[in-house]
Symmetry: C2
């Protein structure tokens, strides 16, 4: 998922209670079939294997994403899904991938460096060997001292925000406790239309944004000075490093310098040596490729068509983003969610379900750059959140279910401020209380594709998932690999999603909606 | 420290109580000076920086170790220590270092590999590119199917012992709890002369040793088939990998194939692809150097000479091993212990201490290959544990203190079955109870250089240290770097060691001894 705060609940003045107006129907016979297929004949790990180990990193518009999209379409067709297509959602920009990465310090001794080229940065045009120049600058004026000294050099920024590593005495992997779930269940309703607090309201975030702006200016100067390679600090530890947003993917993006995001241990080792006045030399060879033949972005779409005369034009949607960052193979972000959603479709198809409403899966792209795939799809099909001009189809989508919080099993669902759906979800979760899914929170969660639907008044939901090592180790890191996927968790999630989709499809009435949002010029 | 079980207490039938025959003297004025210098003017992190970031990996007889040894001698001389020398302890064999490491999969997609050449293995003689051949074999006969198919190929062993990764819900870093320390304090005395249980007694260890033996046979076959590069699985996760013993460092060691220890994520990704029948291609370039001009192994020795007419020929020794494995910079294993012991010497010198007995520090080498440095030193100066023929000097060493369990602060000391020293240590720890050091256990600990002294009847002790991330992340890993060192812990440890050494030097009587061990033909 995109890197913004996930669980944001703006507190309402008055406490909130779910009111079940009528007992919501649960089809236990169908649930039993779904459970049997989902928990005993699961294919979810095979699906995840194809997306990660086989396809590789799936950065937006990269060859890896294209491979994964082609495989998904083939798989959907093999299962007999209908209207399988790669649907353009709009213009994205350039694809990019790493073709070679090699880097090591050679003085004072040889040591290979754990790092990754920053997304959408160029290569080094062959092997570069250089002493590393330490740039002690927090702002552009401080850069003047380096004028004329950087051409062809490998440079590293030193600045006041860099901290040495500190020990954590907490486990990397965690599940929600009963207490935490209980707190979520008792959360108060968010103010209707409330957004997550603006980034600048958070002092740490504000400082980061200011630094990032300064860094962009300084990086531009580095480019003008024709430095050969920039080393930047990547958050993380013990060999895990997190990638951040890379250079621009726009077709007309200005040229930038080659840039490596360096794991903390290697970065700090070099930094300490340079700060101590030691000479550090380095060699590196980076090759990257850009792909601009087709700048359009695509989602993979497939359906199980509805069969009820009156309801078949209505749609239940489910999905997750399929694109990833490039330093890992995007296993928890978000092969996990994509595989679960595919597996839910497979389960429903395998049990021979003939849904009343049409069931449609979407594997979004370019979520990581701003939910572009889902927002583009919603804009094209359902309406524009800037103006709130809606299409006729907007009314036909009864709900959208999303999964994008890692490998952790579904423990419940965010009702996203929709008081009408909460008691319904509570009933639907009952057959899964034994596998630890039970919590409905009225609270919001952000950061991922359900927001695109929510923004135009379509009920869009993300499930509550056990956190596992998502925030500590995998979310956008080089260690987001298949190894992090927990089979039982994904199996449970797929089973629960299949049952939710089943019930949504069969429900007499569409899912309750909240008041339409006001037009939002920001478009989100 | 060497990789064998650390805390081994063979239980005696009868409980054990310390009996303080007379109140042991504590010189509080001296302790105050030591604390002030050690806790307020510490240089221990600077010393550790020189050993790790500046010197680099310190594999036995490597250029890195030589750099670090030269620096230590220079430092000892600058402090005004006496008899500073690089003293040969015997013949070690070849030195070795990595001069280039590069590896990546290129099919089905490009991905760099986190790995390290195995110690004392040769390079690839240029760039090697090959499909990876999966060798499904647990034993030599199963190798026959690959006859004639491996020349120049990159090969990977698949076998029944390889497991996919599993989540840990425990913290990587931990400190001892009061409960754990209390248990140690109440431990019963080990049976005199008891050894740690033989490796084969542990089923997992026995299986590992059997597999290792089979692997050696199979690896020899690989060599005969002229395979280009072997990939082996390295324990660890999230980018941390642990190195194991490498090829032989003997001058006459037979030729072996180039071999990479591959981080679990990269190894398992390739393995899963190969098991699924996917083609995986790889490129690699490895250069290593061997150093056989001087096969002798050396320890660094330095002294603060004794000043008491009667006692100055007696010696208090302190030390730790200085050599490391090659994939990290040997920070917790054992720059930590080496820096603490050096700092203890600096503290004693700085406060102007004129000891009664001579104080001698030793920075051992080749501990990782079998405590060779300390054992060679002991054999040369004090006696032969095989025959128990002892020198006159054996009686003159009143105690040896060792540190080699990582960065964790000293929380107490292992009395190593010596009931006489326990009440003495208890008194000496009292001025440090406020900085959380208080526990004396009668129990043994193994795996490091105090055993060399213990084996010839010289009281040799290792301190109890907080475990921190030693077993989970750093011990022999690529992530054993300066980042893992905790300043406050090292400062406290150095202060406590300095006080122990001080009191040992000033004590009227030498430290109590246990009964002499029986001759041990195994020599340890």
């Amino acid at each position: 998922m995109k890197m913004i705060k996930r669980f944001t609940t703006t507190i309402f003045a008055i406490g909130f209670c779910f009111t079940a107006l009528a007992q919501e129907a649960v089809d236990m016979a169908a649930v039993q079939k779904i459970r049997k297929e989902g928990l005993e004949n699961s294919k979810v790990m095979d699906l995840a294997f194809q997306m990660t180990d086989v396809a590789g990193p799936r950065l937006s518009n990269s060859p890896g994403l294209k491979r994964a999209q082609e495989w998904a379409m083939k798989q959907f067709n093999e299962w007999g899904l209908k209207n399988v297509q790669l649907e353009a959602w709009g213009t994205f920009g350039k694809g990019w991938q790493v073709d070679k990465y090699y880097a090591a310090t050679t003085t004072p001794y040889y040591r290979p460096i754990i790092a990754s080229p920053k997304a959408w940065t160029p290569g080094t045009n062959g092997v570069i060997k250089s002493e590393i120049v330490l740039i002690k600058a927090d702002s552009l004026p401080q850069m003047d001292q380096y004028k004329g000294k950087l051409a062809g050099k490998i440079v590293m920024f030193d600045n006041s925000s860099i901290r040495m590593l500190e020990n954590s005495y907490k486990a990397d992997v965690k599940r929600y406790t009963e207490e935490e779930l209980d707190k979520m269940a008792k959360a108060q309703a968010p103010t209707p239309g409330a957004q997550a607090p603006a980034r600048a309201a958070n002092p740490a975030m504000a400082a980061m944004m200011k630094m990032r702006a300064a860094r962009m200016e300084m990086t531009k100067r580095i480019q003008e000075e024709k430095a050969g390679l920039i080393l930047t600090y990547a958050r993380g530890s013990y060999g895990t490093f997190f990638t951040s947003n890379g250079a621009s993917y726009a077709l007309d993006a200005p040229a930038v310098s080659p840039e490596l995001e360096v794991s903390s241990e290697d970065f700090l080792r070099i930094l300490r040596l340079l700060r101590a006045g030691q000479k550090v030399e380095m060699e590196a060879e980076i090759k990257t490729s850009f792909y601009d033949q087709d700048p359009k972005g695509y989602n993979v779409i497939a359906e199980i068509p509805g069969t009820d005369k009156k309801l078949k034009d209505e749609v239940v949607m489910l999905g997750g983003h399929y694109d990833s960052w490039h330093a890992g193979t995007g296993a928890t972000d978000n092969a996990a969610g994509s595989a679960v959603m595919m597996e839910a479709m497979r389960i429903l198809k395998t049990i021979g379900f003939k849904p009343k409403r049409t069931i449609r899966i979407a594997l979004w792209s370019s979520e990581e750059q701003g939910l572009h795939g889902s927002r583009g799809y919603v804009a094209k099909h359902f309406g524009d959140p800037k103006t709130m001009q809606l299409t006729a189809d907007q009314k036909k989508v009864t709900a959208y279910y999303n999964l994008d919080n890692g490998t952790g099993a579904i423990r419940g669902i965010y009702a996203q401020g929709n008081a009408g759906v909460a008691p319904i979800f509570q009933e639907w979760l009952k057959p899964f209380n034994d596998i630890e899914a039970k919590t409905v929170t009225i609270g919001n969660t952000g950061g991922t594709d359900h927001l695109a639907f929510h923004a135009v008044g379509i009920p869009g939901f993300q499930f509550i998932q056990d956190p596992m090592d998502y925030d500590t180790r995998t979310h956008h890191s080089n260690m987001d690999t298949y190894d992090r996927l927990v089979a039982q968790d994904l199996q449970r999630s797929a089973t629960i999603v299949a049952a939710f989709v089943y019930h949504t499809s069969e429900r007499a009435a569409p899912m309750p909606r909240v008041e339409l949002p006001k037009p939002n010029p920001a478009g989100r």
